[in-house]
Structures are given as structure tokens and as C-alpha cells.
């Protein structure tokens, strides 16, 4: 498909009738426009022409009564019109959608027409033709803005609502529904065939019991299936609730964050309060012993003195005893220890040791001293321990006081909130937590129900096989139908898995090729796809890049959309608003240089802060830059599309 021309009438800031002519040759075209000039409106004009919807922030639909040009000053809903001319499969189509044609009762309505090679198509043929040309679900692969790109992140979270929808859209353009729907239709046919088989068996005496059992097993399997369906609906509904509540929270992000911070800090204060109490208790438990630690330095010093005194006394005592023994030997002429005779010469030698101290007195002094020493040793005391306990208690108190201060700061910020805000936000947060808990719970029940349904289905298959083997003539036709359908179902189930695997492989391969062109980080080696077509970046050693930057989210999303364009034969234009929003200069250059390889028709809606024109001209050489337009301000409510780059 190739877009040729867009005509707009009073659409957004495009007052009156204005035309945008797309370039007639393959390449990149640029539409320059400052913020607020109407780049997104032009993208929306194409979207409206094709699908009748206009998207705003967070991909929310915009009320069409607000879309018409307001330059006339009125705030009443005003009419507008878009006409998109495009070429597909050698035919030229002209699609017109007009809003605000009076329905005769003062209301508004929409009028759509599709002209194919000059023939006006009837409503039914028109709708069929449009659905075939470009199903709305796949618009996201050629018509998108930065926000839509951001949704690709959801593919990395298995089970996310947005991710599931995106996966379905991807599989749709790749043809998976042909197989999955064939599988589901054959399964339904098989189910009916088994009912017929059971009824036929019930008529025959020989197979009646088996037939009855098959019937009952079928009923159980039906119930299990219904249960799965009901739970699936519940999960979807809860997911919608979660999304809605999350959207309503988005507006109060600041207070939500403050509340979360306050709760965290309250917990921290509680924790530190407890720690402080514990540390104080530890110190208090030793309070009655602290005096020992206070006395300890003096006690240690005195003990050392007493040790010296004791040594001294011991030595004096030893000498006193020796002297006493010598004196005794001299006076008795016999050694008191060995009982030998002491001669005159020996007695002369012993004379100098006349006793100076009284050993008994010395002994009494030693006893007193040792008793003092024992008393001091009993004091003990561990100053290091007490000091440590006090330091820890002090530190815990300081930490607590700091945390309390931080909590007070948040409380002060929260106190500035408009009345009622916090209560409302708290309620929504609680509500969200409740929904999320229910969602998890219901998802678990769904998983159980699915397992149950499989078990029940297996029971049916087993009974049906037994009946078939029993081979009674009365069920022959039904048996054959069941056997054929069972085989067909198994075949289609295997084909679905096989086809999906191949698709993922080729999408991964193509996305990796594009990614290598776009990426400026040499260590990022390739992309890996998951079951939902989410892509992770891998290093050369195969380990994934965790927490990739928002710029790289953008690069990965571009790689995926480009890969999908390449893998699907449904090639089309690639039109994107703010394509470089989160990219640095190097990646901008890479993206710009790669775009001509992604699609034959690329249109970028940019402003000069986002893209340097000289750089663009330098990169898009050899005729790759095929056209330039710019949006000229006439007034705040009036923009004019003009050819060429802005002056």
C-alpha cells in the first residue's frame, strides 16, 4: 500500500481545505512543525480517514465533537472531513470520511465513502474492502507515535493486557489466526462428533455403558471449559479495572509517590525505633555493672602496683628465711635443711646473712596485700564493651532522629495537598492493591481450571477411543468422524506451535539485523524474542541487558516494527510522530540512515530541536530524502501545510 494524497477540511488546526501530497517515489519524507503546530493532528487525520478514530495522550480516543477547527471562535462541535487517496495492488482508492453532516434532527453523524478506480463501492463492499486492505489492529505497525512505541515494552511482561493485545495484532498480520481458528473450529466439530458418537453408542446394548460414560465425561469437559471461559472473562475484566485505576492514578503521581515515600519512612522509623529500644535495653541490662568499668583504669593501675609490691615482698621474704636458716646453722653448728655439720669456715661465710626482716611480719603483709589484690581483681569491668554498647545506642538514636526528620519533611509536603486529595489517592491505591490481589488470585484459579479442563478433555478422548476400539457397527460412521477429526485437531495444534516458532525465529532474525544497524553500543550483540514477541537485548555471551534505557526501548521497538514490516507481506507506509524523542545524536543518525530500509514510504513528523536538518540532508543522500513539507503558523488555531523546508 502506498499513500498518495491527504486532503483535510477543517481538521484540528487545518482550517479550510488543505492538501498534503505524498512523494511519488520510494524514500523518506520530512514534515517539519513546531510543538502545537499540528504534527500529531496530521497523523490523526490519516488515522481518522482510515479508521474513524482520533487518539490523544496515552492512546485514549478523543471526542470527535472537539476535533473540528475552532478558528471561527465558537466552541460548538464543528464539521470536518478527510480524504485519503492511496494505491494498492495496482488499484487506486479514494477514502473519504466526513464528520458533522446533519442527520436532520440537529445531531451529527459521519459519512464514509470508498471509491475504487473511479467506482463508488456500496457500504458492505466498502467495509469488507477496508478490513482487507488494512485491519485497524495492525495500524500500529505503520502509523505510530512515541507513546505507541512505548507499549512495545509491555510485550516483555507475560500476561500484561496491552502485551496480549499487541501479540494478537502481530500474529494477525503474520497469518497465525488461519491456523488457530482452524484448530478451534475443528475442536468444536470434534466435540459435536463425540456427542453423536456417545448417542449412537447409547442405543446399542453392547456399548451403552461406554456411551453413557462418554456423555457424562463430555458434560464434565463442557463444564470445565465453561469455567475456563468464565474465569478468562473475570481476568480480562479485572485487568481492565486495574488499567483504569492505574490511569486515574496517573494524574496524582506526585502525591502517590509522596504517600509511598511516607509509608516507607514510617516503616523505617518504626524499625529504627525498635532498634534503638533494643540497643538501650542492652545497655540498661548492664547499667548496674557500669561502675566497674568506670573504676577499671584505676583498678588496673593499682593491680600492677600490687603485683610489684608482691614480687618485692616475696623476694624479701625469701631472703629473710635464708638469713634465718643461716643464723640457725651458725648457732647450732648443723644445717637445718640437710642436717650436716657446719664448720667454722662455713659459719664465717654464713655470717653476712644476718636477718634484717622478720619473716612472720613479711608473711602477714603478703597476706594483706594478696587479699587487696583479690578484692581488686573481683571488680573486673569491661570498658570496651560498655563503650561499644553506648556507641551503638547513640548511633541508633541518631539514625532514628534522622529518619524521623525525613518523615517529617514528607508529612510537611503532604500537608500542602489540597483537602481530600490524600484520602482519594489512598483509596485508589488500596483499590488498586485489591484489584491486583484479585487478579493474581483469579489468574491462579484460571491456571487450575485450565489444567482441569485438559484432564477432563483427556478423559473424553480416552473414552471415545475405547468406544472406537469396541468397534460396534452402530457407531462406525461416528467413530470414523471422531478419529479423523482427532487426527486433524492434533495436526493443527502441532502446526500452530510449529508456525509460531518459525515466525518468532524469523522476526527475531530480522529484528536483530535492524537492531545492529540502529544500535551504537558495540557490546549489545543481538535480540532475543519471547513467546509474546517481546524482545530483550543480549550481550555477546548471551546474558540479557537488564533495565535498558528508554532510548533503547525506542530502538528495540523500532527494530520490532521494522521486522514485522519485513516478515509480513502486508507492507505499507511507516509514518511516525516524534520518532527521535528519546534518542541521542548518534542513535538519531543510525535511525535516519536505516529508515529507508524499513519501508518504501517513510514519513517523519519532526521539529528542528529533534532533528538537525543539515544532518538529515547529509545522511539521506542519493535521493533518499524525497520530499519536505512544513507547518506554518497562521494563528493559534490555524496552521497551513506548505511545501519545502521551513525558512
Amino acid at each position: 500500500m502506498r499513500l498518495l494524497r491527504l486532503d483535510v477540511d477543517d481538521f484540528g488546526p487545518y482550517r479550510g481545505t488543505q492538501r498534503y501530497d505524498f512523494a511519488g517515489v520510494p524514500g523518506v519524507e520530512l514534515l517539519w512543525g513546531e510543538n502545537g503546530r499540528g504534527k500529531t493532528s496530521l497523523l490523526n487525520a490519516i488515522r481518522y480517514a482510515l479508521f474513524g478514530v482520533v487518539l490523544g495522550r496515552a492512546s485514549a480516543q478523543i471526542d470527535l465533537t472537539t476535533v473540528g477547527n475552532r478558528d471561527h471562535g465558537s466552541n460548538e462541535p464543528s464539521p470536518f472531513k478527510t480524504t485519503l487517496t492511496f494505491e494498492h495492488g495496482g488499484q487506486t482508492f479514494k477514502l473519504t470520511r466526513a464528520y458533522g453532516v446533519s442527520d436532520g434532527a440537529g445531531g451529527v453523524r459521519e459519512r464514509v465513502s470508498l471509491v475504487r478506480d473511479g467506482d463508488v463501492l456500496g457500504p458492505e463492499e466498502r467495509d469488507q474492502q477496508m478490513a482487507r486492505l488494512l485491519p485497524e489492529q495492525i495500524a500500529r505497525f505503520f502509523l505510530f507515535d512515541a507513546e505507541l512505541l512505548q507499549e512495545y515494552e509491555q510485550l516483555l511482561n507475560p500476561g500484561s493486557d496491552a502485551g496480549d493485545k499487541l501479540k494478537a495484532a502481530i500474529e494477525r498480520i503474520l497469518g497465525v489466526p488461519v491456523l488457530t481458528q482452524a484448530r478451534d473450529d475443528v475442536a468444536a466439530t470434534l466435540k459435536r462428533a463425540r456427542t453423536l458418537q456417545a448417542k449412537a453408542a447409547q442405543k446399542d446394548k453392547a456399548t451403552r455403558d461406554l456411551g453413557n460414560n462418554l456423555q457424562i465425561a463430555q458434560d464434565y469437559a463442557d463444564q470445565a471449559r465453561n469455567n475456563v471461559e468464565a474465569l478468562t472473562e473475570q481476568v480480562e475484566s479485572l485487568q481492565t479495572d486495574v488499567n483504569e485505576v492505574e490511569r486515574s492514578l496517573a494524574g496524582s503521581a506526585r502525591y502517590q509517590k509522596l504517600l509511598a515515600t511516607r509509608n516507607e519512612r514510617r516503616l523505617e522509623v518504626e524499625r529504627l525505633q525498635q532498634r534503638s529500644t533494643e540497643r538501650n535495653d542492652e545497655l540498661a541490662a548492664r547499667a548496674s555493672e557500669i561502675w566497674r568499668a568506670v573504676a577499671s583504669p584505676l583498678v588496673t593501675q593499682r593491680l600492677a602496683e600490687l603485683e610489684r609490691l608482691d614480687d618485692d615482698l616475696s623476694e624479701r621474704y625469701r631472703r629473710a628465711i635464708e638469713a634465718q636458716q643461716g643464723a640457725l646453722a651458725v648457732s647450732t653448728g648443723q644445717c637445718p635443711t640437710c642436717k650436716q655439720e657446719v664448720g667454722t669456715a662455713a659459719a664465717a661465710l654464713l655470717h653476712p646473712h644476718k636477718p634484717t626482716d622478720d619473716p612472720a611480719t613479711l608473711q602477714a603483709e603478703m597476706v594483706a596485700l594478696r587479699s587487696r589484690r583479690a578484692a581488686l581483681r573481683a571488680i573486673g569491668g569491661d570498658p570496651a564493651l560498655i563503650a561499644r554498647l553506648e556507641r551503638e545506642a547513640d548511633q541508633a538514636r541518631v539514625d532514628l532522629s534522622d529518619a524521623q526528620g525525613q518523615l517529617d519533611d514528607v508529612e510537611a509536603d503532604l500537608a500542602d495537598a489540597p483537602p481530600g486529595t490524600l484520602e482519594a489517592v489512598s483509596t485508589i491505591i488500596e483499590q488498586l492493591a485489591g484489584y491486583k490481589a484479585s487478579l493474581t488470585n483469579t489468574r491462579n484459579r484460571l491456571a487450575e481450571a485450565r489444567a482441569d479442563a485438559v484432564a477432563k478433555e483427556n478423559a473424553v478422548t480416552a473414552l471415545s477411543d475405547r468406544l472406537h476400539r469396541a468397534g460396534a457397527g452402530s457407531t462406525g460412521v461416528e467413530d470414523r468422524r471422531v478419529a479423523l477429526l482427532s487426527q486433524l485437531l492434533a495436526l493443527l495444534t502441532a502446526a500452530v506451535t510449529d508456525f509460531r516458532d518459525r515466525l518468532r525465529e524469523s522476526v527475531e532474525e530480522e529484528a536483530t539485523k535492524i537492531f545492529r544497524l540502529l544500535s551504537a553500543e558495540p557490546d549489545y550483540d543481538r535480540l532475543r524474542i519471547n513467546d509474546s514477541y517481546g524482545l530483550s537485548i543480549l550481550f555477546a555471551d548471551g546474558s540479557p541487558v537488564i533495565n535498558r534505557s528508554s532510548g533503547y526501548e525506542h530502538v528495540v521497538a523500532l527494530s520490532l516494527t521494522a521486522a514485522l514490516q519485513r516478515c509480513s507481506p502486508m507492507s505499507g507506509p511507516f509514518i511516525t510522530d516524534s520518532p527521535f524523542g528519546r534518542l541521542d545524536g548518534r542513535h538519531k543518525r543510525h535511525v535516519l540512515a536505516t529508515l529507508p530500509q524499513i519501508s518504501d514510504q517513510v514519513m517523519l513528523l519532526v521539529h528542528d530541536e529533534e532533528l538537525d536538518r543539515q544532518m538529515a540532508l547529509g545522511l539521506l543522500q542519493d535521493g533518499q530524502l524525497v520530499a519536505e513539507h512544513h507547518l506554518r503558523r497562521v494563528s493559534g488555531r490555524h496552521t497551513q501545510i506548505e511545501r519545502g523546508a521551513p525558512a
Binding site: 538501650n280 545497655l283 540498661a284 547499667a287 548496674s288 557500669i290 561502675w291 566497674r292 568499668a293 568506670v294 573504676a295 577499671s296 583504669p297 584505676l298 583498678v299 588496673t300 593499682r302 611480719t361 602477714a364 603483709e365 594483706a368 587487696r372 589484690r373 578484692a375 581488686l376 573481683a378 571488680i379 570498658p383 560498655i386 563503650a387 553506648e390 556507641r391 545506642a393 547513640d394
Partner: protein, 129 residues
């Protein structure tokens, strides 16, 4: 040579903060985060001996307050008594009377040093001077 102090004599069974010292002791209790006033009393005795304060009772000692303690509670292992006697082997006074003196003068000295900023926490009492 030395006479064992107070040997055989009848020792005091109660010791008390004086009326003037009791509020000072309570202030220190808060300051040092001690669970009991008795903990302050013990610390004050240890501090007094560390500071080598005189054992004699000052003339302006003053009358006892209601903060008085049985020595069995204040000094259950009699280690405080042992400390005083081990440091002052020549002591002839009743050791618990000395302890009572030290806990009061020690409290006043400690308070003085706290107010002077030389002691701000327990750790300042634990260092070797």
C-alpha cells in the same frame, strides 16, 4: 602493721543521697540514661575514687534525702566495699559510710564535669586518664 578497716565493727546497712545531691543525681540519671538512681550512685563512687576525692565527709554534707538504699541492694557482692578497702587499706571508718560520702561528692563532681563539658557520655568516664 595495718589494722583491717572497720573489722568487727558494726557497718551501716543504709546509705543515702543527701537532700541537696538527690536532684543532681536524678539529672545525671537522665543525662546518662541510667534505668535506676542506684546506678548513678555506684558510678559516682567509682568516679570519686578515680578522681581520688577525699574520703572524709565534708562539713556541709547535709541531711539525707528519701533516696536511700540498703547496702545489700546497692552492693550485693560487696565489691564496692572491697574496692574502697583495697584502695585504702588504712581506712578505719565504716566503709559504707565512706561509700555514702563518695557517692554524694562523686555525684557533685561528675555533675560539675558534665556541666563543664569534659564529660558528655559514659565513654568519657571509661578512658584512662
Amino acid at each position: 602493721m595495718t589494722q583491717p578497716a572497720a573489722a568487727g565493727g558494726t557497718e551501716r546497712v543504709n546509705v543515702a543521697f543527701t537532700q541537696a545531691v538527690e536532684p543532681v543525681a536524678r539529672r545525671l540519671q537522665t543525662r546518662l540514661r541510667m534505668p535506676n538512681l542506684m546506678d548513678v550512685a555506684r558510678i559516682a563512687v567509682a568516679f570519686a575514687v578515680r578522681q581520688d576525692l577525699p574520703l572524709g565527709r565534708p562539713s556541709d554534707f547535709g541531711p539525707a534525702s528519701n533516696a536511700n538504699y540498703n547496702v545489700g541492694s546497692l552492693d550485693p557482692g560487696r565489691d564496692l566495699r572491697g574496692l574502697v578497702l583495697a584502695l585504702h587499706p588504712d581506712l578505719t571508718d565504716d566503709p559504707y559510710r565512706v561509700i555514702e560520702t563518695l557517692m554524694n561528692v562523686g555525684t557533685l563532681e561528675l555533675d560539675r564535669q558534665v556541666n563543664a563539658g569534659t564529660v558528655v557520655s559514659l565513654q568519657d568516664l571509661l578512658v584512662t586518664s
